[in-house]
Amino acid sequence: MAAMTIDPAEQPRMYQQTLLQDGLCDLLENDKFVDCVLKIQDKEFPCHRLVLAASSPFFKAMFLSDLEESKKREIVLKDVEPGVMGMILRYLYTSDINLTEQNVQDIFMAANMYQIPSIFSVCVSYLQDKLVLGNCLAIFRLGLLLDCPRLTLSAREFICERYQVVVRDQDFLQLDPSELALIITSDSLNVEREELVFESLMDWVKHDEKSRTKDLQELLHCIRFRLIPLDYFKEKVERHQYIRFSQEIKEELDLVRDAHRGRLPKPKKLSRDEAKGGEGSEDEEDGDEEGYLPGILNNNPRFGMFEIDLILMINNTGTVAYDPVGNECFVVSESTEIPKNHSSLVTKQNQVFVVGGLIYNEEDKDDPFSSYFLQFDPVSSEWLGMPSQPNPRCLFGLTEAENSIFVVGGKELKEGEHALDSVMIYDRQSFKWGESDPLPYEVYGHGTVSHKGLVYVIGGKSESKKCMRRVCVYNPTKFEWKDLAPLKTARSLFGISIHKDQIFVVTGVTDAGLTCSAEVYDIATNKWSEFTEFPQERSSLNLISLGDFLYAVGGFAMMPSETSEEPVPTEMTDIWRYDEAEKSWTGILREISYAEGSTVLPVRLNTLRLTKL
C-alpha cells in the first residue's frame, strides 16, 4: 500500500511495528496470553496487561501499583461506556478507529481519563478538522477543560478569525470571564475597529449584569482603548452605564485619556503593576508586550485592522492588489484558474466573484455549455468553484442586488453570436442559477451597476452593432424594467462606476470610434451631465470608486505601433485618479504590468494575509 513512499530508514521500524501490532491482535483473537479482563457494566473485554500498560500511563501505574486491582484478572472500570472502551481497545490493537460526531466526545473524555496519548491526539486532530462556526466555542472550552493547548489554540484562532460573527452567537454570552479574556486579548482578532471588541464585552456583561460587573474592571484591560477614537471614547465608553459609576475604572480610564493626549505613564511603574496584581493571568500577555505599561494602554493593532482599500487586478496569470496610498503591490492569489475573458464583481460585503470562460459538460445533453463561476476565498487565497453559470456569454454586465448576482445581456457564446436580452441571476441563498425578467432589448458591451437594490443598464450595442443611448433600470422587488433618461452620447465598452450616488461613464466606443468624453448621471434627479474628459480616447477603461476617489485603470487606446504608422488598439496599463478640486485626471502610475488583461475591482483586504511584491 503505502510502502512505496516509505523512507528506507523507516522501513524496518515500520515492518516491526506492523508485525508487532498484528501479532498482538492475533494473540487476542485467539485468546492467548490474555491476562486481564476489563469489565464495564455487564460487558467484558479480554486483553493484555502488557498492551494496556504500554499504551497508557494510567494502566501502567495501576498494574505496577500495589493496589489489589493490579493482582486481579478482572478490572472493573466505571465512568466509561462499554462501546467507547471497545473502540479504544480496538484502536490499541489495530490502529483503527472510527470517530464520528457522536462518539468523539466520549472517546476524547475516555482517552483523557485513561491517559491514552495516541487516541487523545487522534481526537484532537479530528476536532480541529471539524471546527465550524457552530461548535468553535464548544471546542475551545473543551480544549481548555482537557488542558489541550493544541486544540484550544486552533479553536481560538478560528474564533478570532470570525470574531464578528461569533459574538452574535447566544453562547458567546455564556463564556466564563477567563475564557472571554483569552479570546479578546488576542492580537489576531479579525476586527476593523476596537469599538466592536468593547461592545461585545459590554453585551457579555449585560447578559448577566449582577455577577459580571465585578469582572468588568479586569476585562477592560483587554480592550485596547488607545485604538478607539477619542469621540467614541468620551461618548460611549466613559459614559457607559457600567463604567460611569465605578471609581476604580474611572481612574484607569484616565490613564487612557492621558495617553490620548500623549502623556504615557513612566514605563517602569512597578508599584502600579502590583497595585493591580489582581489583574490575573489574562493580562500578563499584554503587560509583557508593553514592558511595564498597564495593559489598558496596549495599542497594538488587531489583525483585522490591517485591512485597507486596494485596487485588485485579476487575470489569468494571478491576482495582484495595488495600494494607491502606500504605492505598494501585494500578491493576492497565484492561482491561474481564472478564465481569460471574464467579468468580475465585488459585493457590498467585499466578496469577490468572477464569471466567464466556457465549460463543456458531456453529460448534460440539453445544455452542455456553461461558464465558470468562482468566488475568492481570502483565507486560503484561492478561487472556489461555484455552480457554473448556464447560458454562457461574453460582453455581458455583472452586478449584484439583494441576494442575487445578475448576469445581464451580452453576446451568446454560440454560433450566431446573437446579442441577448436574457438576464440570469444567481440566488445566493439557494446556491442556484435562474432566470430573471429579460431586458426590454438585446444588448452587449453595455455598462451594468447597481445602487440601492436597483440594477442599471447603460448604453451598449444592439444586435445591429449600433451604439445605443438607452438606459434602463430593473427593480427586483417589482420585477420590472423601466426606461430612464438616455445617455448624451451613444456608446459602448466604457468605464463605469457608482461614486457618491452618481453613475460615472467615462470614454468608450461610439459609432465613430473611440471617445474621451465622459458623463455623469445623477440618480436622484434622473439627469445626465457632462463630466471632465479623460486625457485619452480609450475603450474598455476600468473605472472604480475606492475610498474617496475615482480611479481609472488601463483599457485600450489607438496607438501607432512599432511596425506600422497606422494606429492600432494597444492595451494600456496606467492608473489615473480624478482630482475633484482641480477637476482633472492625474496620472499616478505610468505602468503596472499586472493590469494587463485584467479586470479591476476596488476591494478591502487584509495586508497581513498578503505578500508584498
Binding site: 471539524k130 465550524v132 466578496q351
Partner: protein
C-alpha cells in the same frame, strides 16, 4: 351509574334526531344555560375577561373566543359516542371549509354555520344535564387538542383553562360575531401577525381566506413577516383582494422562506405578471409543494402561461398546482413537470430508505463484530450476515425489533440516548454465550483493514434541511462564505454540546472514593452543559 349514562345516551340520540330543530333553538338554549349556571362562573370569568381585553381589542377577543369554542366543542361531544358521526373531527372540518372557501365565499358562510350549529346544540344539552361533569371533563380533554388553530398559544395549559371558563360568555357573543364577519373566518389578524413576526412555533397554518376588508398594508405585513418565519406551513389568502403588488412581495417572500409548503392565492386580482413573478421565484424555492392560484379576476393570458410552463422547469419540488391552463401546450408541460417532480420525490424517498437500511445493516454488522470479537469489516467482506435469531439465541442481542428503532428522520440531538440504551441492553450475558459460539471456532485469517464504505454519512443527509446546521461538517457553506451566509449558520452552542455529547444522565455513582478529578469529570458528564465548567487558565 351505568344506567344513568345510558339514559344520557338515549337522550342524546334523541337530540340527534331533532338536529334541525336544534339550530333554531340554539339561541334559546344558550340563554338558558347562561341563566342556569352563569352566576356560578361569572366571577371567575370576569378576571379572565379583563385579562383578555388587555391583550386584544374587542373584535380580537370575539374572534379568539369563537375559535376556541369551535375547537373545544367537538371534543366535548365526542365523549358521547352516539353523536360522533355527526361531528366531523375538527381538522377535517376546517379543511373542508378552506377547500370551499376559495370559490364560493358566500356559500361557505352558510355551510359553516350549518355545520357548527348541531355541534353547539349537542354540547348545550349535554351541559344542561350535567354541567359539572363536562366541566370536570374538559381540562382532561383539552390538552389532547392538536394545534389546529393559529390562535392557540405557546402555553396550551393556561390557554385551555381560559377557554374552559370563558365558554359561556362566548356563546352569548356568538350572534354578534357572526355579523361582524360574514366570511366566518375567525382568525385574529393582529395577534396572528404578531405571532408570525415572533416566529411562534404554534402557528403552522395561516388562513385569511375570505376575510373582508383586510387592509393592503396588513396583507403586506403578513407576507413580509413570513420571509423570516420558520414554522408556517400553509398560507391561504384566497379571496382577500390580493393584487399585483402583493403578488410581487409574495414572490420575493418565497425566495427567502423555507417553511411554507402550501400557498393558496385563489380568487384574487393577480394578473399574469404577478403569477409569473411568483413562478420565477420558485426557481429558487425548494419547499413549496402546492400552489393554488385559480380564479383570478383577469385571465393570465397566453404569454404568461407559456412563461409559467417554461420557468417551472427549474423547480423540482412543486407537486400540485391549482390552476387550469387555457392553452393545451403549457398544460401538458406543467403536468409533465409535476409528474417528474413527484417521481423525483418518490425516488428520493426510496433512496433515503435504502440508505437507512444500509446504515442499519452496517450497525448490525458492527454489533456482530463487536460481540463476536471479529476484526472490523470482516463480515462485510464475507458478505455474510448471520440471521438475527442467531445472535438472539446466544443472548447477544435483545430479541426485539429494537434494532431498527431509529426512525429515519430522527433528530440529531435525540439520537444518542436511544442508541445508548440499545447498547446497554444488547449484551446481557456474553460470557455464557462465548463457548457456544461457532464462529469463534472458525480460524479466520486476519484480513487487511478495509475502509468501510458506509462510514461516511450519506452525503445527501448534509443537504437535507432538517439537519441542524451546527453539526461537525468539514465544509460548511464556505463556498459562498462571507458575512451574508455566515449569519445563516447561526451557531448554537447548547445544541452543539448536545450533539457532540450523548449525555448519560442515569449514572451509577461510583463505589470507590472520589478524587476531585473524578468529581470534576463526573460533574461534567452529568451536566447538560458538559465541558463548560470554568477552568482557570
Amino acid at each position: 351509574m351505568e344506567e344513568a349514562e345510558k339514559k344520557e345516551k338515549e337522550e342524546n340520540t334523541e337530540t340527534v334526531e331533532y338536529e334541525e330543530y336544534e339550530v333554531i333553538e340554539e339561541v334559546i338554549v344558550e340563554e338558558a344555560v347562561d341563566g342556569a349556571d352563569g352566576e356560578e362562573i361569572i366571577e371567575e370569568i370576569i378576571e379572565e375577561i379583563i385579562e383578555e381585553v388587555d391583550e386584544s381589542d374587542e373584535k380580537g377577543k370575539e374572534v379568539e373566543v369563537k375559535d376556541e369554542r369551535e375547537v373545544n366543542l367537538p371534543v366535548n361531544t365526542e365523549s358521547q359516542e352516539n353523536i360522533d358521526k355527526h361531528v366531523s373531527p375538527p381538522e377535517t372540518n376546517t379543511e373542508t371549509v378552506t377547500e370551499k372557501d376559495g370559490n364560493q365565499p358566500l356559500l361557505d358562510t352558510v355551510e359553516q354555520t350549518e355545520s357548527l350549529a348541531p355541534k353547539h346544540s349537542m354540547s348545550h344539552i349535554e351541559e344542561k344535564e350535567e354541567i359539572k361533569m363536562t366541566d370536570s371533563l374538559l381540562p382532561k380533554d383539552a390538552p389532547e387538542e392538536p394545534e389546529i388553530n393559529e390562535t392557540n398559544d405557546k402555553l396550551p395549559q393556561k390557554e385551555e383553562r381560559k377557554i374552559n371558563k370563558l365558554k359561556i360568555p362566548k356563546l352569548a357573543l356568538n350572534n354578534i360575531k357572526m355579523t361582524s364577519r360574514p366570511s366566518g373566518n375567525e382568525t385574529n389578524l393582529e395577534s396572528t401577525l404578531d405571532k408570525i413576526r415572533n416566529n411562534n412555533p404554534s402557528i403552522t397554518e395561516v388562513n385569511l381566506n375570505n376575510i373582508e376588508n383586510i387592509p393592503k398594508e396588513m396583507l403586506l405585513d403578513y407576507v413580509n413577516a413570513l420571509k423570516k418565519n420558520k414554522h408556517v406551513k400553509t398560507f391561504s389568502i384566497a379571496n382577500t383582494g390580493v393584487d399585483e403588488n402583493i403578488a410581487f412581495n409574495l414572490a420575493n417572500m418565497l425566495r427567502e422562506n423555507r417553511s411554507i409548503t402550501t400557498l393558496n392565492i385563489e380568487s384574487n386580482f393577480i394578473t399574469g405578471k404577478g403569477i409569473v413573478a411568483i413562478i420565477r421565484c420558485l426557481q429558487f424555492n425548494e419547499t413549496l409543494t402546492e400552489l393554488r392560484f385559480h380564479n383570478q379576476r383577469h385571465m393570465l393570458g397566453h404569454h404568461a402561461e407559456m412563461e409559467i410552463s417554461r420557468l417551472l422547469k427549474a423547480n423540482n419540488t412543486l407537486l400540485k398546482m391549482g390552476y387550469h391552463f387555457e392553452q393545451p401546450g403549457p398544460r401538458m408541460v406543467v403536468t409533465n413537470i409535476l409528474t417528474r417532480n413527484l417521481d423525483r420525490q418518490r425516488q428520493l424517498r426510496k433512496e433515503e430508505q435504502k440508505q437507512q437500511q444500509l446504515k442499519e445493516q452496517k450497525e448490525l454488522m458492527q454489533m456482530y463484530e463487536n460481540s463476536l470479537n471479529l476484526p472490523p469489516g470482516l463480515l462485510e467482506m464475507l458478505g455474510y450476515i448471520p440471521p438475527l435469531e442467531f445472535l438472539q439465541q446466544h443472548g447477544l442481542v435483545p430479541p426485539s425489533s429494537e434494532l431498527s428503532t431509529e426512525p429515519p428522520t430522527h433528530n440529531q440531538t435525540e439520537q444518542p440516548e436511544p442508541k445508548k440504551q440499545l447498547k446497554h441492553k444488547s449484551i446481557p450475558k456474553q460470557p455464557s454465550a462465548e463457548p457456544a459460539n461457532p464462529l469463534r471456532d472458525v480460524q479466520l485469517k486476519r484480513t487487511p483493514k478495509k475502509r468501510d464504505p458506509f462510514l461516511e454519512l450519506d452525503p445527501r443527509d448534509d443537504r437535507r434541511q432538517e439537519r441542524p446546521s451546527f453539526q461537525l461538517r468539514k465544509t460548511p457553506k464556505v463556498k459562498d462564505a462571507g458575512s451574508g451566509e455566515m449569519t445563516d449558520e447561526k451557531p448554537n452552542l447548547t445544541d452543539v454540546i448536545k450533539t457532540l455529547k450523548p449525555v448519560p444522565r442515569r449514572r451509577v455513582p461510583p463505589k470507590v472514593e472520589l478524587t476531585p478529578r473524578d468529581q470534576l469529570l463526573n460533574e461534567i458528564k452529568k451536566s447538560n452543559v458538559a465541558y463548560l465548567k470554568s477552568v482557570s487558565i
